[in-house]
């Protein structure tokens, strides 16, 4: 039997079936947590933000417009929550200093893990407007249209900022010696 789509789950949830919301949590918690983690660069904050986003989505479920995709809508809530966190904790200025040190990794995986860590550091070093585009595109797999909806900016701006973001990211990685010029 095929799984019910998001809109069916939302309808059931609005009819009082909390189990349906649990299914939505199962479906999206991993990707939302990962997007949040890449935005905030902190596991505890990412968990808090993901949780708040789900709770707010649940509470505002009756305002959800089914013409749009559920995940674009919840992304929007989550991005706003992430921004609240960033404003509140002002971590965008100190984010590089707060990168957690990695636990020892088996030698064969070390290089990959190091590179991934450097890439994550570089993403965290991007200005917020550019970081969120990289994160939504590469960690959330959102299309230009969905990003435009989630961030409330025109699709054209999504495109141009994403290109700029990639260029900035590459510059950071070149400067740090992670990739060659």
């Amino acid at each position: 039997m095929s799984e019910p789509d998001d809109k069916t789950l939302i309808r059931r949830c609005l009819e009082g079936d909390d189990r349906a919301f649990e299914d939505l949590v199962d479906r999206y918690q991993k990707v939302l947590f990962n997007v949040s983690l890449r935005m905030l660069n902190n596991r505890e904050d990412a968990m808090d933000v993901t949780q708040v986003a789900f709770v707010k989505a649940y509470q505002k479920l009756d305002t959800y417009d089914p013409r749009f995709k559920f995940f674009s809508w919840i992304y929007k809530i989550m991005i706003n929550e992430s921004l609240n966190y960033l404003n509140r904790r002002k971590i965008h200025e100190e984010v590089d200093e707060r990168m957690p040190s990695k636990a020892p990794t088996p030698e064969t995986e070390l290089e990959t893990a190091r590179t991934a860590e450097k890439v994550q550091e570089a993403v965290a070093g991007l200005p917020l407007d550019y970081r969120r585009l990289i994160v939504l595109r590469h960690f959330g797999n959102l299309s230009y249209r969905d990003m435009s909806g989630a961030l409330d900016i025109p699709e054209k701006t999504v495109k141009s900022r994403l290109y700029t973001a990639r260029q900035m990211l590459k510059d950071i990685l070149v400067r740090r010696g992670t990739v060659q010029a």
Partner: protein, 260 residues
Amino acid sequence: MIDEKRLALMNAEMDGETSPQESASLRTILAEDPEARVAFEDLSRLAGLLDAVPQVEPPPELKAGILRAIRPSAPPHREPVPRAGWWETLTRAFQAHGRFAWGYGFAAGLVLGLLGLALFRGGTPGLDRSEFVGSMRPLTSLTLLDAQSVDQDGVVGSLETRAGDGEVILRLQLDTAPPDLEVAVTYDPGSFRPTGFRQGGPPSHIALNDNELRFQFHGRQTTLLALSRLEGGRASEVHLRFRTSEHEFARTLTTGGPGS
């Protein structure tokens, strides 16, 4: 130097946002222009690096926390923990973030601002004050419901609501505040009953009405307010008003599920 149009096309191709015609056009460009080919390879390499950053499994407690927050009446799934006093429990819960160490806010000694004395000036007849002062149950699990920052009219700080065991805890941590700041917390009296209040720093004048608790802030201070959720209450928000002689602004914080 590759022109912007071609770079845009390469980016769109990598994002799967090109039409078949655009893809074909890019293939031609790449076949004919070595410089474009290098640029496209660079871009693909960058995308590969991003895609190689591993997905992280969310902590198992995330889902449990979400479900607990949206179903305040459901029995919380939690590990048994040593029984602690409510104050210790609150402190621990809010100290979960290291850099949120706000013990300093209370270092000067917590003023058990409660509601005896100066409180309840003009309080409501019929309100059971003894319950408010002393009956708060120990909380063993607090789930974050809402978190907001404030930076307006000289008021700078953060606001949070957390839930556990049928109670909602409102926490206000202000880093700076005008000297005459008064905060009013308004709630639905059919949904909540205030059961505890603590404020670090100098004592505050506190007033309680049917649906509102008002208190003062003196610069950098942290205040906790516990609201017990009443059976059948449907409210899912509390409202805060920050008032000085010159300004007034409001905030709304969620308090968990729709009150069901």
